[in-house]
Amino acid sequence: MAHGSEEGLGFSSEDYDSLIATTDVELLKRTWRNEKASPEILQFQASLVQRSREQIQLMEDTMEEFAKNGTDPLTVSLYQMDLDRALFLLRSYLRTRLQKIEKYFIHISKSELWNRLSEQEQKFAKKCTDYMEKHLQKSVLSHLPYGYQSILRQSISSEEDDMVPEPQLDTFVFCKSKGSVGAFQLDDSGDEIVDLVADDLYVLRYKSIKALIESEQIDLV
């Protein structure tokens, strides 16, 4: 996990960049940035999280050995710093996802976003929904007259579930594309065409680039 191991091997800077880009820490950082910047919940990276946890565990074991061997305290605190930062990334990633679930659990349970959750997150979302429903029923809905007691609809005469909070997909996000995507159509009417060149920074509506993010051609910043 430590980056120092690559430096002493005499790689050229391009090779170094591409090597760095594939380490798990970099992947975790990228996934974390995407998740923080996106208004809706993204696909759960189960294998990445699993690998990161294993590596963190390895680091913690190494640290314990250092503590026993009495290694140079500077090295120990550098490794400790690295470990703390990786742990922070992991925790923040999971925390951001949980907070998005807390906000939009009804919307997530009803749409295909449900499949983007990990198993434990699905259990959490289900519990969230149940407790919130119980709370709302007890405080408000049970006192209202018949026909207005639904959580999802305003009344039984509403045609669809109109009381579900949904994430705003129209927000603007900063993004950078990794490789050149070329001319890209921003909306369905074909009015705006944007040329996405590698490493250029763009500010676009989230909705238009949703598909590109899912196929990992673009990163959010």
Binding site: M81, D84, F88, R91, R95, Y131, H135, S139, H143, M163
Partner: protein
């Protein structure tokens, strides 16, 4: 009537800064509920009147129909206001769980009504179940770490002989210690310690 009192209830909510709230206004809440029932009774009596006059419910457009529509719309608006009130307070409660931890201080507990206290307990237990499944405490490390150890000053007597990480500390008031960040965070969030910067 007609949603005015419900909007007053919501104004109370919006006057607070984000993350704070006032005591649960049970009186106004109860009054809005009574209004809802009044609207509903009026609605039903108007609909009955339309039926008694033998007119078709779906297509009549006489004053009774419009009166009924107004009652129906006010009822829906009251319902939305009430749900927004309860839902927004619930969101603040959720954020408190992240900021403060599983136990709420007395001042905040006094502002919640019974159902909200239950909701807090349930939500807190759902979070804890998730964290224990993953074996990771997600409420520490809220800010990116700059240093693995931080210097803290103890604000309140926590107790002597507190054991953290195989080392026992004597947390007397106003004493200064150098602790690991993750250990100190739980005390800082409860307000028992403060971080010394510089």
């Amino acid at each position: 009537m007609y949603g005015r009192r419900a909007s007053q209830l919501l104004k109370e909510n919006s006057c607070n800064e984000t993350g704070q709230f006032t005591a649960f206004n049970a009186d106004m809440f109860g009054e809005v509920l009574k209004e809802c029932n009044t609207h509903h009774l009026e609605l039903q009596s108007l609909m009955r009147k339309i039926q008694e006059e033998g007119l078709d419910m779906q297509t009549t457009r006489n004053p009774d129909h419009f009166g009924a529509v107004i009652h129906h719309l006010s009822l829906m608006r009251n319902k939305r206001c009430l749900m927004a009130y309860v839902y927004n307070r619930a969101e603040v409660i959720q954020s408190l769980r992240w900021k403060v931890g599983p136990v709420l201080p007395q001042e905040i507990q006094g502002k919640l009504n019974q159902s909200e206290k239950e909701y807090f307990k349930n939500h807190s237990s759902a979070l804890e179940a998730y964290m224990s499944e993953l074996d990771l405490d997600l409420t520490v490390d809220m800010v990116p770490p700059k240093d693995p150890y931080i210097r803290i000053r103890v604000l309140d007597d926590i107790g002597d002989e507190v054991v953290l990480d195989d080392q026992s500390h004597n947390f007397v008031r106003h004493s200064i210690h150098l602790l690991k960040r993750t250990d100190a965070e739980q005390y800082i969030s409860q307000g028992l310690m403060e971080e010394l910067s510089g």
